[in-house]
């Protein structure tokens, strides 16, 4: 499909998709985990002194 060096092209795009996908997934999951723990504390009545969360 991409000539004699097709494997190198596919490997380049494959590794890039994997690494960026993993980075995006980690960013989303990390964000959700932190928000969940914040919500748990919030539901227990713990507030910041300057509570101005979204």
């Amino acid at each position: 499909m991409f000539g004699e060096h097709g494997l190198f092209i596919i490997a380049s795009y494959g590794v890039s998709a994997l690494a960026l996908g993993a980075l995006a997934l980690w960013t989303v999951l990390d964000g959700r985990s932190v928000r969940r723990r914040l919500d748990e504390l919030d539901s227990r009545g713990v507030r910041r002194r300057s509570a101005g969360r979204e």
Partner: protein, 244 residues
Amino acid sequence: MALMDLANPTRFLALSGRVLPWLTGLALATLAVGFFLAFRAPADYQQGETVKIMYIHVPFAWLAMFGYSLLALSALGILVWRHPLADVAHKAMAPIGAVFAFLCLVTGSLWGRPMWGTYWVWDARLTSMLVLLLLYLGLLALRSAIEDPNQAGRAAAVLSLVGFVNVPIVKFSVDWWNTLHQPASVFRMGGSTIDASMLWPLMICAFGFTLLMLALHMAAMRTEIYRRRLRVMEARAAAEAAFA
């Protein structure tokens, strides 16, 4: 809204919450167009189809340097203005920049094997890019090694400012030394040497990856702000439990 007004974590969260979905969508749409054009672009007369790797390798290289430049700017914000959002921006960028620098090296190696006959040579461009990756990793290690977040932020800021000297070395290494890596072919005196049929897809891919990096950075900054709020609330909960 004045720029300084945005440099407030609560306002940043409100604004970024509205901007982030659009920024992410625009990044993905731009990348889709860029890849569509890249895979329709003609093969290079020397590289053949292997030139397709350049549509991702070159943006990764640019963005690894761009990310580090943002780190250095944030470091100034930490050390000079002691702004908390600068520390948030600094901490959030390090892992993202590290991934882009890593991908630059990997895709460069995968291009180098068929074109140069080797995955790696210790020439100035490749070595200075490896140093950039090591600087990113060093910043991550430094932050996790120091328990006090403020102290960790200041130490990381100093390291990133010292390491910024490597960015112009990466950029100009191909001019200053005799390297196997080819000299600049897009941003150079006298204009680009790349044909428009390949230059446009490259620039659109680069723009798409830039938007993606900014979207990832914005999302990571939001999480970091919430993480700091969580730390404060956990400390408060622990203190209340101790006095109960």
